[in-house]
């Protein structure tokens, strides 16, 4: 029981850290960035290439991945999303999907379809024993990183000037630009942060579940998106809670109901939650003026 809870939390933290990226971008740019999962995959490959082929130390490989993804995120935003700033959300959604296909196929051409076994970059963290229960270093590292990232993000958006600018942009782009906030710059910054997070998420995802393929990011991306909606999309603590709950529910569904139908159960729980709370657990109520 407790074992399952721990593996659930460990799986959930991976979802959570991906969901954080989703939620950041959604909260500020109001778009569903379906390419987020693929940026994670690129981050994974970046860390793999430097860490495994070039034998860079872990911190440097991760840093490199973060830089690659940050640059990638900003470039994608500039080239693909910025021209659509005033277009319908559906047009942006389809563009994001196009970007997702693009990244997957680029990865296929560069790294081929052969999977890579990702070296565990968190192996330096020791096992922790609590009574009978053993927690692997990877799980511990994932959970801790996730919490640190969430706290840092919350502090950033609440306390810093740039973070406040982000919140203003998320409330009202027009008003924000009237107040002298550089809206485009702020959205770019959001993508930079979201994509940098994706690199970290990629390293954590691949450390915990080490097969790296061009499609590696796709399903965790969708699951994390689900998690973000579960927690209330746009809400940073919501993404965290949503991710962890999703992981725990998935593991419990496998353990106590059916390994075959675990996905169906996860999604069914999501639907029930949304029917009871239409904007997710911590989501802001949608308000409409009359």
């Amino acid at each position: 029981m407790l074992d399952y809870l721990i593996s659930g939390i460990s799986l959930g933290s991976v979802y959570a850290i991906i969901a954080l990226g989703y939620t950041m971008v959604y909260g500020i740019a109001k778009m569903l960035n379906f390419a987020h999962g693929d940026i994670i995959m690129i981050g994974g490959y970046a860390a793999f290439c430097t860490g495994y082929y070039l034998h860079w130390p872990v911190w440097l490989a991760v840093l490199f991945a973060v830089v690659v993804c940050t640059v990638l995120g900003v470039v994608i935003e500039k080239l693909a999303y910025k021209p659509l700033r005033n277009a319908t959300s559906l047009a942006v959604l389809i563009t994001a999907i196009g970007v997702s296909y693009f990244l997957q196929n680029v990865a296929l051409l560069i790294w081929t379809s052969n999977p890579k076994a990702f070296p565990n970059m968190l192996s330096f963290i020791p096992y922790v024993n609590i009574g009978r229960i053993q927690i692997t270093g990877t799980a511990l590292g994932t959970v801790v990183t996730c919490i640190v990232v969430m706290v840092a993000l919350t502090l950033f958006t609440d306390k810093t000037k740039m973070g406040k600018a982000m919140r203003t942009v998320s409330e009202d782009k027009g008003a924000a630009s009237l107040m002298g906030i550089n809206v485009n710059g702020t959205i770019s910054l959001t993508f930079a942060i979201g994509s940098g997070l994706a690199a970290i998420a990629g390293v954590l995802l691949c450390s915990a579940y080490p097969t790296l393929m061009p499609t590696t990011g796709a399903m965790p991306g969708i699951k994390a998106f689900t998690a973000a909606v579960f927690g209330g999309i746009g809400s940073i603590p919501g993404a965290m809670i949503g991710g962890i709950l999703l992981g725990v529910i998935e593991i419990f569904a496998k353990a106590y109901i059916s390994t075959q139908l675990s996905d169906a159960i996860v999604f069914a729980v999501l639907i029930i939650v949304l029917i009871v709370k239409p904007t997710g657990l911590l989501g802001k109520k949608i308000t409409e003026k009359v």
Binding site: L11, S113, T211, M213, T215, A255, S262
Partner: protein, 406 residues
């Protein structure tokens, strides 16, 4: 053990010749179509055969399609380099592991003028394409689509790989006969036709040979990351051996997570497990002691395998997996069959022959009890009328990071 004797024998036979194969039987084959205008005087095989291949070259299953494609490429190059007057014109089409795209690919190949199809690589598309090929009278030899549905009721469809029942029951029998275990656990992929196909036949055979299945758990392509629940179930069930009718990517995750929780069991895989040792970045010590039934092991030392693996590594910079080997054997099997026909029917020129004619010829040869053929995935492969291959699976165990025959 018998297997060892066999492999020694194999090496001996191998040494004789790679090329001379099949045509040892002089019993005149009952050939369906009479291709008078295509015969050559001296019983030799000439002309250019248009060979099409269909498989997932992009998308989630691209690994398998590309492996087969690469294997076929090497075989085609070798055959074309023999200088016998017989050439193969080869074209591969992508199907993204999708039945609809696969039928499109098949039609593309038809428009290109394909006379014979090596494919398709994956099961579901293969069933769809084989139905088309059946009504078109196009001969198909799939390197790797293993379900019995692929060949069922289609006389033009042959498999180069073991069929699912073959693998499932062979595994169950092997485990029972060698007293590897009585309490067996299974993890399989219930969103995958290959995996659940083998699972079903394993379960049936297990009941016959007296194996106890104490734990059955599944995963899907979408939940292929965390196996803690499955492994905990196995731990509680007290299984001695875990049967993994799955591909090696998932298996690598299972081994790693089993190691983390200290699960100590025997592992038994199927041909999809092959490739785990060449998985880039994989700690092969985790796979230590894993047994698998596979017709191909890249580390085997017979000439055929060594030749193939060397060329493959040279050309593509990676170790061939099972699928590549299956792909490699396909053009050879077709080549040998045509050669066999030519030898027994006073020669054959395949240039511009219709696919219908070739289909009847190849069906007649493949179902001819006198025809057999060697390849890297098996020696003296022969086929029954149902289209299933008859070859001996090799049982191997991973020791010190390499396959060792059992």
């Amino acid at each position: 053990m018998m297997k060892k004797v066999l492999s020694v024998l194999v090496a001996g036979v191998m040494a004789l010749s790679i090329v001379a194969c099949g045509a040892t039987n002089d019993a005149s084959a009952n050939t369906g179509a009479d291709a008078n205008n295509n015969t050559t005087a001296d019983g030799s095989l000439t002309g250019t055969l248009k060979l099409g291949m269909i498989g997932p070259l992009t998308g989630g299953a691209a690994l398998y399609g590309n492996a087969v494609d690469h294997g076929v490429q090497i075989a085609v190059e070798e055959i074309n380099a023999l200088g016998t007057g017989f050439q193969i014109d080869y074209q591969a089409e992508d199907d993204e592991h999708d039945a609809e795209k696969s039928v499109n690919a098949y039609n593309q190949l038809k428009d290109w003028g394909a006379q014979v199809i090596a494919g398709t690589v994956t099961t579901t598309p293969c069933i769809a394409v084989s139905a088309e090929a059946y009504s078109d009278r196009m001969f198909m030899l799939t390197p790797s689509a293993s379900s019995t549905d692929v060949t069922a009721n289609k006389d033009n469809m042959f498999q180069l790989c073991f069929s699912d029942p073959n693998q499932g029951s062979a595994s169950a029998k092997y485990i029972a006969e060698n007293n590897l275990a009585t309490d067996v656990a299974i993890i399989y992929n219930n969103s995958d036709a290959y995996s659940s196909g083998i699972y079903q036949t394993f379960v049936d055979a297990a009941a016959e040979v007296g194996l106890n299945i104490v734990s059955t758990t599944t995963f899907t392509d979408d939940t292929q990351n965390d196996f803690s629940v499955q492994l905990a179930d196995i731990q509680q069930s007290g299984a001695e051996l875990v049967f993994l009718p799955i591909y090696y990517q998932a298996a690598s995750l299972i081994f790693q997570q089993a190691d983390q929780i200290g699960l100590d069991v025997k592992w038994f895989g199927v041909d999809g497990m092959d490739g785990i040792l060449s998985l880039e970045g994989f700690d092969t010590s985790l796979a230590e002691g894993v047994m698998l039934l596979t017709p191909f092991a890249a580390d085997a030392t017979d000439d055929l395998t060594v030749n193939f693996v060397t060329k493959f590594e040279e050309k593509f910079g990676e170790t061939p997996i099972q699928f590549a080997a299956d792909g490699y054997d396909c053009p050879y099997a077709i080549y040998r069959a045509l050669e066999y026909y030519a030898a027994n029917n006073g020669g054959l020129d395949v240039t511009d022959m219709s696919n219908e004619e070739l289909c009847e010829i190849l069906i007649s040869v493949f179902t001819d009890p006198g025809f057999s053929c060697d390849g890297v995935t098996g020696l003296a492969m022969s086929w029954n009328a149902a289209g299933e291959v008859n070859k001996a699976p090799k049982a191997v165990v991973i020791e010190n990071g390499v396959y060792v025959g059992l």
